[in-house]
Assembly symmetry: C2
Homo-oligomer: 316 residues x 2
């Protein structure tokens, strides 16, 4: 690992950098969900973040941390998801080009979002190999800086700003729970929370059918995501060496959640709170639903990570 690990101060620095670009998202509560789950839940609504997900925090910090010299050639990434849109928007705000490699089978709504932010899109075959080789070509030809969706110091520092806002508003949470894909969000979250108050537990929630972080955490050895197959399409990726290092040190536990519970959790939020969250966001609430012995009578901060859903492909 040749990158340094973000610290408390880096998240403060990130918040200064991006404060004027991001939304300070609201924290919502639901009396009926609290009653149903016998818990006191506080939802940090990153589904209301710009570009529809927390990813904008990290992408924005990465883009605005570049020197003018670096920035002028633009930024590049490969992603079919929220990081692509987030990076494209951040680049647009800085007035620099963005180059996005997307699998040709990406959902229309995601293509539309990325196009809307004026990114230059290159479509490729839907394999990691194709994505990486396309990206390499683009970086070589354009001089753009590759911004990894989570294995990146500035991205993780940016993601930590959601927890910073959360704890500033609600300092006395017993537990904070967030979904785990590549680990950028939980890394930033745990870095902030463990620096503020070591008594607040940090728990990662992962789909049972994409449980690489769980397996890595329990075995102590970084393990790849193997044929992940979950509705939570933001959580398919594997941890990186950097996010795994942070998670081992700062996260208290990782819990896996059944597919059925993910859908039920998503539906509960849609029906009771009247807000739209994507399946990946619902994994954190799903963990609360499946483990009452951990969360009962606790003050629990739940990070709702995003709200980008293809409305023509709902699981209801």
């Amino acid at each position: 690992m040749n990158q340094k690990i973000p610290r408390f101060e880096d998240i403060i620095e990130a918040h200064k950098h991006i404060g004027t670009y991001i939304h300070k998202t609201p924290v919502l509560t639901s009396k009926s969900i609290n009653t149903l789950l016998n818990s006191k839940l506080f939802f940090k609504c990153e589904n209301f973040q710009k570009a529809g997900a927390f990813k904008f925090r990290g992408a924005c910090n990465a883009v605005f941390s570049l020197s003018d010299e670096q920035a002028k050639n633009g930024v590049a990434t490969h992603s079919s998801g929220n990081h692509a849109a987030a990076l494209a928007l951040a680049a647009k705000l800085r007035g620099i080009p963005s180059f996005i490699v997307m699998p040709e089978n990406s959902p229309e709504i995601k293509k539309k979002a990325v196009k809307g932010y004026r990114a230059k899109i290159t479509y490729c075959k839907p394999t990691l190999e194709a994505r990486e080789s396309e990206l390499e070509k683009i970086v070589k030809n354009t001089g753009a800086t590759f911004i990894h969706p989570y294995d990146n110091f500035h991205v993780i520092s940016g993601q930590g700003t959601a927890a910073k806002e959360f704890i500033e508003d609600y300092p006395y949470l017993d537990i904070v729970i967030a979904p785990v894909g590549g680990g950028g969000l939980i890394s930033g979250t745990s870095t902030w929370i463990k620096s503020c108050n070591s008594k607040t537990k940090v728990i990662g929630a992962e789909p049972e059918k994409a449980d690489d972080a769980y397996r890595s955490f329990k075995s102590g050895i970084l393990q790849p995501s193997l044929n992940p197959d979950t509705i939570a399409d933001g959580l398919l990726t594997s941890l990186s060496e950097m996010t795994f290092t942070i998670i081992r040190e700062k996260v208290d536990d990782i819990i896996t959640v059944r597919e059925e519970t993910i859908v039920n959790a998503m539906r509960m939020v849609w029906e009771r709170m009247k807000i739209i969250i994507e399946p990946s966001s619902a994994v954190a609430l799903g963990a609360v639903m499946e483990n009452p012995e951990i969360f009962a009578n606790k003050q629990v901060g739940v990070i709702l990570s995003g709200g980008n859903v293809d409305l023509t492909k709902l699981p209801f």
Copy 2:
């Protein structure tokens, strides 16, 4: 008409009555929708109101305006929709019984909501006649007070509190637009707004396929809803003599909206704002979308009336 018409002061009184029970709902904005529609829209989010719709304001005011003597026998209504749930919840909060007559073919989600608030439900055939005769029996047998969903002084006064909050936060709106079903919301809204600032226009939005208010408004003669057939299931009812009287005096215009636009407006709010609104709510935004010449470059207050949607029957 044997009921008096609500005035400005009655809405103030209503707000005092119900202030501790209702949510003061937030006003949200969307930069991307403003850009798309070349307008400055402010959305009053009654989809976040208790029981999921503005209806709780009126029902709550009606329930808490009863004397103890009247209240002890409970309240009754016939409704397949939001008024039923709202009345049941208001009655529960006052600790009195509620009796709801619902058509047997009402959506499961609405039955569940009403049951959840401990109402006594009587199912009937899905005709107005069956509903009214069942209700009459219940009122006779129990002594419960019938609370009409809109042809009721206290209900209209309660609905006006949404506009009161709206104008307190945003006094300089050029136009306020709200959906029209039976006319309770637009009556309360126009009563408040025309008392505050006669320069703010009040416009009602109605589905083209349930256009009784439009026909009544344009002809000056109260006309019934004839075979209404719209996805906006909260707007099927006809105006009453009282709501028509208020609308004629205080509403500046009524605009009809095509079904396709209602669905597009609903989708726009779901996708861009990440909040759930029901089709009836989307009619007001649909009117803005179809009439740029009226709304362009104006500050427009849009009342999003509710968020109760059957997720298994979405139009996308």
